[in-house]
Symmetry: C2
Subunit: 246 residues, 2 copies
DNA sequence: ACAAAAGTGTTTGCGTTACACCCATGA
DNA sequence: TCATGGGTGTAACGCAAACACTTTTGT
């Protein structure tokens, strides 16, 4: 009985090895993730960059990245990278695309998958100091290493597409926000200006916000009402065939 | 002089090794591409699948795929895979996304990047027989291995998005086509039906087609005029800020 | 009283949709 | 002559864009 068990285990192991051997002729690759981290300060879109303290390109600005492990998905690697920089969990993260130019990094062949994240900049979180991270205005940030500028361009394009078809803007705002803030956010994302009457009636027609009784008194003497995104209502509408479009 | 040259070379090699050593702590991964190949037969969107003649999942239907080499990009790997199956070069190919679930393939950890291709099914090309490939109707094709069904779903979504913002539909049609064919194509892509008068006036308002003097006599006794996509005009318009939208 | 931001409706124009009949031709 | 698909125009509607004044309140 024991021997038979043994045989069985050995057979399984051998079979697995045999099957895996099929792939041994193919090269393996270093795989990394790089994160484009967006924030919004009330006026402009911001991007969180790190100053590299290691070679190559030490001292230059880059996206935050990391290598993918043997037992993690790209999504979890991107999350891990993000948590190590900001400590924030459960933040909006979307895969963008893969960059595989053979010479994209000078010291080794590294294939990189870009992710973009949306975080509420007003959450008082601690940015891990060891990375020398800094927020930059998306309209004025330094040249980045390798193909990271290209990644940022792709991320902005995707953010615009996503923001026009899904209510992801709220990821960048505090839970409660004013109409003015929401409008400024969309103006920043799409690099346009809108008429506030048209903007508000558009938003109201979507019928996915809750107007609270609270007012934000910081911005004016009169104060402006605070709104919340009604995610439950939104999900209900989606389930009934509603299509978000802004 | 020769010695000095030697020293320089040795130094360079050592430096490279030293730099690469930094990455030796990180795992390497098998990386593949999988291609969703779309065609259009005049009525329905089609997808080209292969019947696997190797384990695992021998005999089941799958997407055409292949591993990425040390000195090729993902784009060129996808192209190589496509050429080996169809012999076709210079076809429309767009990267979709990466699939990295740890257990997505049972015999080894393989991370896969999906691409979708648009080919003109009427080009008389030879499908490489060794792959047991077959065209299926996109509304009625067999269950695929691993996460390939998910890949197809993503590809259809991307195709729809792309077709609504760029004139890629023409990749699926012969160089000369009738208005009816064009309408059928868009109806197949978006799974809707359109009023032909509205469709034609919409297309004409885009002003990117050339009406030839030729008629397609196969479809009716009267015959219907053939059109060509005016790529030059389109590029000109784009350069002047024109935004394609359908 | 005044400065500064909040809040609120109506009109116009354009693009999308709905809709039906005649034409040309081969069989 | 008839059956089949090709080709064409107009009216109604709805959403998006343009546009300006009143309210509130702290200073």
């Amino acid at each position: 009985m024991i021997i038979s068990m043994h045989k069985r285990i050995i057979f399984v192991i051998t079979y697995e090895l045999m099957m895996k051997k099929n792939y041994s002729q193919y090269p393996k690759h270093l795989l990394a993730v790089d994160c484009i981290i967006f924030g919004f300060d009330g006026n402009n879109l911001k991007i969180l960059l790190i100053k590299r303290n290691f070679e190559p390109k030490k001292g230059e600005w880059s996206l935050m990245g990391g290598f993918i492990g043997d037992n993690e998905t790209l999504d979890s690697a991107a999350n891990r990278v993000l948590i190590s920089l900001t400590g924030l969990e459960n933040i909006y993260l979307e895969q963008l695309r893969v960059y595989s130019e053979v010479e994209r990094e000078p010291t080794a062949r590294i294939i990189s998958v870009s992710y973009y994240a949306l975080i509420n900049i007003e959450n008082n979180f601690e940015i891990n100091e060891k990375y020398n991270a800094q927020w930059f205005d998306l309209n004025d940030f330094p040249e980045l290493i390798f193909d990271h500028n290209l990644m940022v361009n792709h991320a902005v394009a995707r953010l615009r597409y996503r923001a026009s078809t899904q209510p992801i803007g709220f990821e960048l705002l505090p839970v409660k926000f004013t109409m003015r803030e929401l409008q400024s956010l969309y103006e920043a994302i799409f690099d346009e200006t809108y008429d506030k009457r048209n903007f508000i009636s558009k938003i109201n027609s979507l019928d996915i916000l809750i107007k609270t009784n609270e007012k934000d008194m910081r911005s004016s003497k009169k104060g402006s009402f605070l709104y919340r995104f009604d995610e439950k209502k939104y999900r209900n509408k989606i389930a009934k065939g509603y299509i978000f479009k802004i």
